[in-house]
């Protein structure tokens, strides 16, 4: 049997048009709430279109109608059959004080892996410079780090922070956006089964280790800590958290939870990844502001003790925040 297409279309088309109009309204306004009557009508029209699709695919062979009805049914299917819990209204304070630290603690193994790789890089960077001081040119391809540390310290202290006069906001903007890009890239490389994330974390560690060794060896430890700690106490953990997120992604890809499919594993970590991304982006914005407006001032303008104290305070607060914040109200059903 073959369907009489013309009669079929002329009788059904008004309902398809009505269905399409309603669908368009829903699609164009994500906050639209249908009344009970409208919802019933929408469901009826969906059933009708689904039944028409079944008839067309069984009794007729008109690719245009088939595609059209498939598209209509597909668009409405998501609206009608969505059973996942809708995301609650975003409350910044709840997200910041509870969701971020809870999510961070849920994936502590990934975090420690990230820390270990960075430390390994630090040891490697320092070790290379200890064995072969000429490797500095290769390891640190930044002009401001090429010279002798004591000379740079003298220059910085003489400048009294004037070198960035009238450029601090721009510098802060550059630091924020650059560091966020690097952190996002470190996370995204989790899709290479974590290999890219390992490389990025190790490389960051190598640079940090080489710079630290260079300054310590030249007797500039106080300057180094005073320079790095105010922003580094936030910036370095942020990149490590980005690495943690990368490993969470890689873990879902590799499949440590054998009984779940790949798609289920990826779906189970998706919200956590978004939370971690939000977390490290926020921290990097703060680190950018501190680096541009605070870290660049040295003695005699700003005593190193104050800078180190400020950096340590930030570090303690960060550790406390990530370790204890949101513990009391932790939800019972954490992600599998």
């Amino acid at each position: 049997m073959i369907l009489d297409l013309q009669q079929f279309i002329s009788s059904e088309r008004p309902r398809w048009d009505e269905f399409e109009t309603l669908l368009k309204q829903i699609e164009e306004d994500p906050d639209l709430n249908l009344s009970l009557e409208q919802a019933r009508r929408f469901h009826y029209l969906y059933d009708r279109a689904a039944s028409d699709l079944l008839r067309v695919s069984t009794f007729a062979s008109s690719p245009e109608i088939l595609h059209y009805l498939e598209s209509l049914v597909a668009r409405a299917y998501g609206e009608i059959h969505e059973t996942r819990e809708p995301r609650r209204r975003f409350i910044f304070w709840h997200w910041f004080s509870q969701q971020i630290p809870q999510t961070f603690r849920r994936h502590l193994t990934a975090f420690w892996c990230s820390v270990a790789l960075t430390l390994l890089g630090v040891i490697f960077g320092a070790g290379i410079l200890y064995v072969d001081p000429t490797a500095k040119e290769t390891l640190l391809p930044f002009s401001h780090l090429q010279g002798k540390p004591s000379e740079r310290v003298a220059e910085e202290e003489q400048n009294k922070g004037h070198q960035l006069e009238g450029k601090k906001a721009g510098f802060a903007g550059f630091l924020m956006t650059h560091n966020i890009r690097v952190a996002l890239f470190t996370l995204a490389l989790g899709m290479t089964y974590g290999i890219g994330t390992v490389v990025m974390l190790f490389y960051n560690g190598v640079i940090l280790g080489a710079v630290s060794f260079d300054y310590i060896q030249d007797g500039q430890t106080r300057f180094l800590i005073g320079w790095l700690l105010p922003h580094g106490s936030i910036e370095i953990p942020s990149v490590i958290i980005a690495g943690q997120a990368g490993f969470v992604l890689a873990g879902a890809l590799i499949g440590s939870r054998k009984r779940m499919t790949l798609l289920d594993r990826l779906a189970s970590v998706r919200n956590d990844l978004v939370t971690l991304i939000g977390g490290f982006c926020l921290l990097l914005v703060w680190a950018g502001i501190i680096e541009a407006f605070f870290s660049q001032y040295h003695e005699p303008v700003l005593p190193y003790g104050v800078k180190i104290g400020f950096g340590l305070l930030e570090l303690v607060l960060l550790c406390g925040y990530l370790s204890f914040s949101g513990r009391k109200n932790r939800p019972q059903n954490t992600s599998p």
Partner: protein, 265 residues
């Protein structure tokens, strides 16, 4: 890998009611064009911001510079997230090229999916111009790039608004098959929808086919229909193979037309 008749990848979804629908997965080239359109949109937005911040620079060049750097980064990263969330899986480029990002299981697209697919873009871009993402997408049965895989999303083509072209065929001549209603009924019973579609397609596209190929094509199609239902010799002798096929198609698709208004394709 599921391919449709035109050889393109399709995403097949079965609803709880048992209805199966197929969506055509967007081709690599179309997606690339959409990406270029989006790139142009981002560049345009950035140049507008650049112009605005230049005015701001009169008051504070440093602040204007910072604002430009931050806004440019926000737009280049946030453009895809914002537009795809606002327009249910469509950016400017996708709207223009009739593409849409959907959840791979057909459900409603969630914000976390949009964020993940957009923020994992840098790895798809490696080493340049979407090479890694393109290669992965080419081999993936759903045409997903790495970001799509992580977000469980698929980019599909949206079919054009329904335009039926059976009306475009003139109904002028007499259909001799109408004199044999029992044979017409048998024809409708025996001809499968896909066979009818082939015949209809052949008629609609006859002018695109060379004369020799057309004669051969209609000979084969007519022979197939003749093997299904045998009309009287005098009916078959009076008409060409092409007319025979036209009569078959008219009988199948226009079964409700009365004999007082005989039709023929």
């Amino acid at each position: 890998m599921i391919l449709n008749l035109s050889g393109r990848k399709t995403l097949q979804i079965q609803t709880p009611e048992g209805v199966v629908f197929n969506l055509t997965v967007a081709g690599l080239f179309t997606r690339f064009l959409a990406w270029i359109v989006d790139g142009v949109a981002i560049m345009t937005a950035s140049s507008i911001i650049g112009t605005c911040t230049r005015f701001l620079a009169i008051i504070s060049p440093d602040f204007a510079n910072a604002l430009f750097i931050i806004l440019y980064a926000v737009i280049s990263v946030g453009y895809g997230i914002f537009t795809e969330w606002r327009w249910r899986g469509q950016s400017w480029g996708k709207r223009l090229l009739r593409l849409r990002v959907i959840d791979a299981s057909g459900l409603k697209l969630q914000l976390s999916q949009i964020i993940i697919r957009n923020l994992l873009r840098p790895v798809d871009l490696l080493p340049a111009c979407y090479l890694l993402g393109g290669i992965f997408s080419f081999w993936n049965r759903r045409g997903q790039r790495l970001g799509d895989l992580a977000a469980n999303t698929v980019v599909v083509s949206i079919p054009d608004t329904l335009v039926l072209n059976t009306q475009s065929l003139k109904e002028a001549k007499y259909n001799s098959f109408r004199d044999y209603p029992h044979l017409e009924s048998r024809l409708r019973q025996r001809v499968k929808p896909v066979e009818a579609a082939v015949a209809l397609d052949a008629i609609l596209r006859r002018d695109e086919i060379s004369l020799e190929a057309r004669i051969e094509l209609f000979r084969q199609i007519a022979a197939h229909f003749r093997s299904l239902v045998s009309f009287e010799d005098k009916v078959e002798e009076m008409i060409t193979d092409e007319q025979f096929v036209r009569n078959v198609v008219a009988s199948i698709y226009r079964q409700t037309n009365s004999r007082q208004t005989p039709v023929s394709f």
